[in-house]
């Protein structure tokens, strides 16, 4: 097999997080690819929940949109959008949610609204979608993002979605039931919140990545665990399944 790419390592690392999870909420792109891969390799019973109202979708192909026909045709149940948020996401029935963002700060808060000033943005991004309530209510959140200084910033231009807010106690004060981000999986490694300060800390680097590289790609002075683990490289089984999935 040809050499492993950073994108493949990131997707495989995300899929591994789903090994012991019952239900996962996903958007499109790499999170969706990771979740379908997890069903193929680690966890065939994993329930995929998409924002479009498809619960228990079993897509053979990676969907382009969260509402592709194949998701509706293979779902255990299809519900309306009000029902999705009020009966399924809000009460915390979904165990894990994968979220992306244009900016992530050191407390795992996310921006997907604007770069620059809100009234006169340099770049208008798509906006919140379901993220704020998904992040407050799903039992835990895993953020999937490319590791660059543009994404990992000291200060968000706009706080679309709360991770740990202003630090310890924030989520409780806001009345959130979910635990918040338990991991941020990038193409360089994995950040996890420090149990005391909630600050994202580099706890894992992907095979062949140096801690210094990760520091340089982060827009704040990155906290690093004493001995960061090294992501074990994708197995032949993981890699061949992923490549087969992408070729469908």
């Amino acid at each position: 097999m040809s050499e492993v790419t950073a994108a493949e390592v990131q997707t495989v690392a995300a899929a591994r997080r789903l090994e012991h999870i019952k239900t996962v909420f996903i958007g499109v792109g790499r999170p969706s690819t990771a979740a379908i891969l997890a069903r193929m390799v680690h966890n065939p019973g994993l329930v995929l929940v998409y924002e479009s109202g498809t619960i228990g979708a079993k897509p053979f192909h990676i969907p382009l949109s969260i509402g592709d026909g194949e998701l509706a045709e293979t779902a255990d149940a299809i519900v309306s959008v009000p029902e999705m948020f009020n009966y399924w996401i809000g009460p915390g029935r979904i165990e894990m949610a994968f979220l992306g963002a244009a900016q992530v700060d050191r407390l795992g808060n996310l921006n997907s609204t604007v770069i620059g000033d809100y009234e006169h943005p340099r770049t208008r991004l798509p906006g919140a979608g379901g993220a704020p309530e998904i992040a407050s209510s799903c039992q835990q959140v895993v953020v999937i993002a490319p590791h660059t200084k543009r994404t990992f910033v000291e200060t968000l231009d706009f706080r679309t979605t709360v991770g740990f807010g202003d630090g310890p106690g924030s989520r409780e004060r806001l009345g959130f039931t979910g635990r918040g981000p338990t991991a941020v999986i990038t193409d360089l490694g994995v950040l996890e919140p420090d149990p005391k300060s909630d600050e994202l800390t580099l706890t894992q680097v992907h095979d062949g990545i140096e801690v210094e590289q990760v520091r340089e790609a982060t827009g704040w002075e990155l906290a690093v665990a004493d001995r960061p683990r090294v992501t074990s490289p994708p197995t032949d089984r993981e890699l061949s399944a992923l490549r087969e999935l992408l070729s469908r």
Partner: protein
């Protein structure tokens, strides 16, 4: 009681300049044919309401039909930006657009409150975000538990436009697959238009199908293929290539305008 009519007649009768209009459909059943007819009839100054503006509102915004957009996610799903939406917000082209943005949960609850003819919906949401300061959401205290919750105002569009798979000759409508907020939008609006893939003698009830009775709909018009490039489950397939193609066409103002004149204003809503 719903009347069956043609799409041009339905749009002429129900949608006026300056109206608030919700053309709904969550990825599935997006009423493209009706939106294009609005553009052909030259409607202006619209308040466009939609959870996910998608390509349809990118086209309507780029043609200058909207004064305001009420929404929760303005991206090209799985592809990237909506370039006409971005150009309007970032550079006021072709005209400035006012934004009122929410989360999906907020919009969904606003439609549900509108359908229920309640003044607002109560939910857990917006807390701790910057969105709260830039939109209409207010805190409310639960009279039973004292919990602080969010109150979002009801959506009551002047007109709702949705697409469905079929209607019978009485104007009863059935849709199946991803139901989005279409039923809520119809029940929340003052007036409603449903376009359908086909008119049938009798509705055959489908598993998971939603029937909207004729007596809550104003007009029904047949529009085969009317949700393309989105889709009508069981009848048409989502044209994912078009969504990727739109990313190129819509990047450039001149290219976009030329494409719209050739393909939409000329009456041919295909590539």
């Amino acid at each position: 009681m719903a009347e069956l009519t043609t799409l041009p007649e339905a749009v002429a009768e129900l949608v006026h300049d300056g109206d608030s209009v919700a053309l709904e459909g969550f990825t599935h059943l997006i009423p493209f044919a009706a939106g294009h007819e609005l553009l052909r009839q030259g409607r202006r100054g619209l308040e466009l309401i939609r959870m996910t503006p998608d390509i349809l509102y990118d086209q309507m915004i780029g043609m200058g039909a909207a004064r305001k957009l009420v929404f929760s996610y303005g991206g090209n799903p799985g592809v990237g930006s909506l370039h006409r939406f971005r150009d309007a917000v970032e550079h006021d082209w072709p005209r400035p657009i006012e934004l009122e943005e929410h989360s999906h949960a907020g919009m969904a609850n606003r439609y549900a409150a509108g359908a229920a003819r309640l003044p607002f919906a109560v939910m857990r949401g917006y807390a701790g975000t910057d969105l709260a300061a830039h939109t209409t959401v207010k805190p409310i205290t639960c009279p039973y538990t004292g919990e602080r919750l969010a109150a979002v105002s009801a959506l009551r569009p002047d007109v709702a436009v949705v697409h469905a798979q079929e209607a019978d000759r009485e104007g009863n409508v059935q849709l199946w697959g991803i139901p989005g907020v279409q039923k809520e939008a119809v029940l929340a609006a003052e007036r409603s238009l449903v376009t359908v893939e086909r008119i049938v003698d009798q509705l055959e009830l489908r598993p998971g199908g939603i029937v909207i009775p004729a007596w809550v709909i104003d007009l029904v018009a047949e529009a085969p293929g009317g949700s393309q490039p989105s889709y009508s489950l069981g009848i048409t397939a989502r044209d994912n290539d078009f969504y990727r193609f739109w990313d190129e066409v819509s990047r450039d103002r001149a290219g976009f305008t030329e494409w719209m004149h050739a393909h939409v204003l000329a009456g041919l809503a295909t590539r």
